[in-house]
Amino acid sequence: MPLDTSIKSVLIIGSGPIIIGQACEFDYSGSQASRSLRQEGIEVSLINSNPATIMTDPVTADHVYLLPLNMASIIKILEARKIDAVLPTMGGQTALNLCIECEKAGIWKKYGVRLIGVDIQAIHRAEDREIFRQLMVEIGLDVPRSQIATSFLEGKEIAQKIGFPLVIRPSFTLGGTGGGFVHKKEEFDVMLTRGLHASPTHEVLIEESIAGWKEYELELLRDNVGNIVVICSIENFDPMGIHTGDSITVAPTMTLSDTEYQVMRNAAFKVMNALGNFAGGCNVQFAIDPATGRMIVIEINPRVSRSSALASKATGYPIAKISAKLAVGYNLDELQNQITMSTSAFFEPTLDYVIVKIPRWNFDKFKGADKRLGLMMKSVGEVMAIGRTFNEALQKACQSLEIRRHGLSGDGLESNDREELMAGMGSASWNRVFQVKDALHMGVPFKTVEKITRIDKWFLNRVVEIDTIEKAVKGYKLDALPEQLFREAKLNGFSDNQLGWLLDTTEDEVRARRLALGIKRVFKTVDTCAAEFQAQTPYFYSTFDGENESLVSDKKKIIVLGSGPNRIGQGIEFDYCCVHGIMAARDCGYEAIMINCNPETVSTDFNVADKLYFEPLYWEHVLDIIEHEKPEGVIVQLGGQTALKLAEKLEEKGIRIIGTSFKSLDIAEDRGSFSTLLKDLGIPYPKFGVAETAEEALEVAHEVGYPVLVRPSYVLGGQGMKIVINDEDLEAAVVSLLNDLPGNKVLIDHFLDRAVEAESDAICDGKDSQILGIMEHIEPAGIHSGDSSAVLPPFDLTEGVMAQIESYTHILAKALEVKGLINIQFAIKDEKVYVIEANPRASRTVPFIAKAYGEPYVNWATKVMLGANKVKDFEFKPNLKGYAIKIPVFSYSKFPEITKELGPEMKSTGEEILFIEDLQDPYFVKAYSERSIYLSR
């Protein structure tokens, strides 16, 4: 069936703020869906409360509603605008839940809105565990064996039948309270009693445990007439027992035979068809018992998901874009393959490379949190790496993580503590893959590692291969390293830095020798078809094979460095900035080139930039791309710390940094020179000192006076920051800091207790500067700005204070010769304004201000950076009635063992925007009255 022309106007529901388990993948899917529908001439309205999204930009949708995701907002939109249909499958669980809520209340019916892309019945069947289980049994598919017990005796009988290990799941408890794995018979009685007690109905489900089984996912698309294709098959490196979002995953599947794969494919079709009649993306998860080959259906998600974003990036097949078209009536065979543009969209992508996804955790932000991985997702972001082999992709993924690792090992950060390794492999945390490598390296028997981790031996054998190469390289001096072995190491993903460590020389020396030997990085295309057809997609990854496919044009080029994996302190805001930076560079006539390794993002959509390199933001890869493309310059100020961190090396190599110079970036970052600058400019700042030992710290503290703020220099999101009030606490804090980050200096600032905090963002062209916005924090100083509710414009700062803020902003922007963006943080006490820090780069708040005022500030800033425009070329006409509040959102529910406590270290994972008319607004009144409630100390 072609396009359903009765649909003229569609509402897309977004996913709201970023929380653990629901990240920027939905900005990617929402943006794609919106553009896809507009291509069809459909008017798109979009609701989302997350301002730092591309989907909520005027460039994406016709009508954007930055409103809380609740029924009242939906009614407001439907009152204001004629909406024919709602597409709820692009905004994760949040959007689906809201859609169901409105359905139940009869809202859609009342306003004559059709639901497209989903079937409410299907969602219900997919989400209710028991209904789903029964449905699977009905259609002849296998599920874990289970039975309900209502008494202790009954429970024991069932356990005898099922055998150990098993799982106890009490009925009607929230978040699985009182349940868990039972490994041995001896533990069972206690666990059963606990489970029965936890259930209000004195009822538990006793289920066969499938922990340790092989885990797989299929990403599928289905159209209205029932045509189905598998877009991507994914195999988990970590077997069942760890949430998929917390597992290392690999595509395509590595250890499935065709027979097994087709059985799985057929089962997925069966599940989809049994669920209901819906058109769009879907994800089905399976487990296979490696001993017997028995296959079990785990779950189905009838919507686009984190996995479908990964699958889109892994294959090049834009799932959300096609899903949206299917939702408005098209069939798969009526659409074109978006990469070849000559073949059909009804086909199954085939890969001639391997992708590895590794999640990114932030346990360091949650002291006391349970770091073990299990059934609840705990990671905050992820990286994907593409290589010609699994070995190469795995090491590239390690290089993408930005956790100071240069690969799987061979970087001096290995552990040789056998006890620790054995314990770590048994109960997985963020570092298990490294521990597996270290254990195999030190000689722990292969079988032992296999038995403890239950990771498939094919994967373990690849790790052994990597280790074998490492050991072979280790014996040599650089000059004597045989060329064949050198090449083999590079093909297996070893970085020059790792090889430098192994060969006892420097990264630069290794690089020089490598290039002299002609071992050069080449770039291959992601084309969905393993080169069977021609494709012009500008989507590349690097490897050390023969042919280079990334032809360099003769246009002027700009490279934008992305922000890498999401983490606390560096999230979707920076991807928003990168995307706008790319668009602005294109506006200015440049060929805009993006480098990023985060599969959830809009910036890694191959349609966004002129060229996309899906590569680690790791020095060696970045430099190789720069040397290949020879751009006019590199933009580092949009991609957060990730990009900024690379600025020093760019400067060293004489590569042009677009906008603010490295020298200025460095002054702002270095507390000493920055304070000198403030002093010279006559701008007040809290007294501070630098210490390298605890003794020095005490001296400094006495000099600046307690309370003091202690922190390491060069950190992100206030990592390791503490406020202390006496010598004893200070000593403890400094010792622990120097322990965690050896070789670092400690900064000690006098802390302005009970001060008010404010911040400003501005654009400057080196001479003239324009303030974009000034925000006042509701919470007092001492809470990280990212965790504070920021009100735009300020709600109770006096004219005098405002004048100081404005004046300091202009003075600093000019003094630092900022070309582009700058963010300055202030503390205000007794009407006096102190500058706490300045960041001459895009800040977390720029997207928020841009949304609140309705002006494209990042676009303008990029044009200023590029020298294409002066600040005066733009007319600043902010449009805001009342106030806009940036509200931080936390993911504490994922860490029930720790209490919510806010301090100088950032902990929020996302943000929302709320527009209020005046200060009598109930939200504001409540937030203001509770402003100190979570303050730590």
Binding site: T292, P349, D352, A531, E532
Partner: protein, 371 residues
Amino acid sequence: MIRQLEHKKPAVLLLSDGTRWDGYLAGAEGTVMGEICFNTGMTGYQEIFTDPSYTGQVVIMTNPHIGNYGVTPDEAESQQLRISGLICKSFSRDFSRTQAEQSLQDYFKSQNIPAIEGIDTRELVRHIRDKGVMNCIISSEILDSDMLKQRLSACPDMNGLELSSVVSATEPFEWGQANASYRVAAYDFGIKYNILRNLADRDCFIKVFPAKTPASELIAWNPDGFFLSNGPGDPAAMPYAVENVKLLLEQNRPIFGICLGHQILAQTQGVSTYKMFNGHRGINHPVKNLLTGRSEITSQNHGFAVIREEVEKHSGLEITHVHLNDHTVAGIRLKHKPAFSVQYHPEAGPGPHDSRYLFDEFVALMKAHRQ
């Protein structure tokens, strides 16, 4: 030297256009020649390597890792490895699968089939995609380009090459239960076991006859229907088969053809075949069934195809299936006879099971015809 590298013995691939590719030996030592082709399937290497249709061909697998799950006896598509040689990126000597019996390395060695790994297979595929199919030679014994070139010049051209009678069974054999509801007489032009498995699963008893068996012998067995199998080589070089099938058509009993069998059925109607620039080889090929409007993902393996214009002009033929990528003919039906055929592989092995309904249709046709 290290374990990783100690087995790395140099091997060379040389194409008939003179381009040379250096890699490492996998499988058995030796020198082999054949027509180079590529398969894009991400699973199913064992089925591909044992498919008789690959006789005379050297196969490039585009999936980087080959051999990961070893070799399992009941996943073979014939009695032995059929490819002349294998070209891949990374050849796994270890494997992971409880049901598997041996490694791919041991399998290749035991049947004396060489492979070359460490090749930029993507570059190679792009090369032959643009230059078209050609012959090639791989060797671990001869590393000198001129000597290889000399050897390669003796390799026959696939065009005009008849290979079915080479791979076909030499004696008739039976498959399935003798008391099954339907009897199917099959011409073995290089038949895959999975076709026989699919028929047997649908209550058929099959007798498989060598390619050059006179039609009278098939008819004499008194089957409910005839099956024309897949196979290697140039369909235009098989006039004997075309003549035999014409005789079968006179019987007015159901006929089902797959791949080469499809091309032969078309030839009985005067439609000719041609050699494609690059064939279709993979398990992700989109085909639209024009009779139902539904689409299916199919397994394909063919380097020749029937000429579309000739089918369209023919009043007695109907196009039932088209390939969605290049709109080549994927299936035909005779309007006045109970005969139909498809260019692709509904039996899968490897590949999706979307098209297995065609076996059901064949059985239904036999049922209807009997009544």
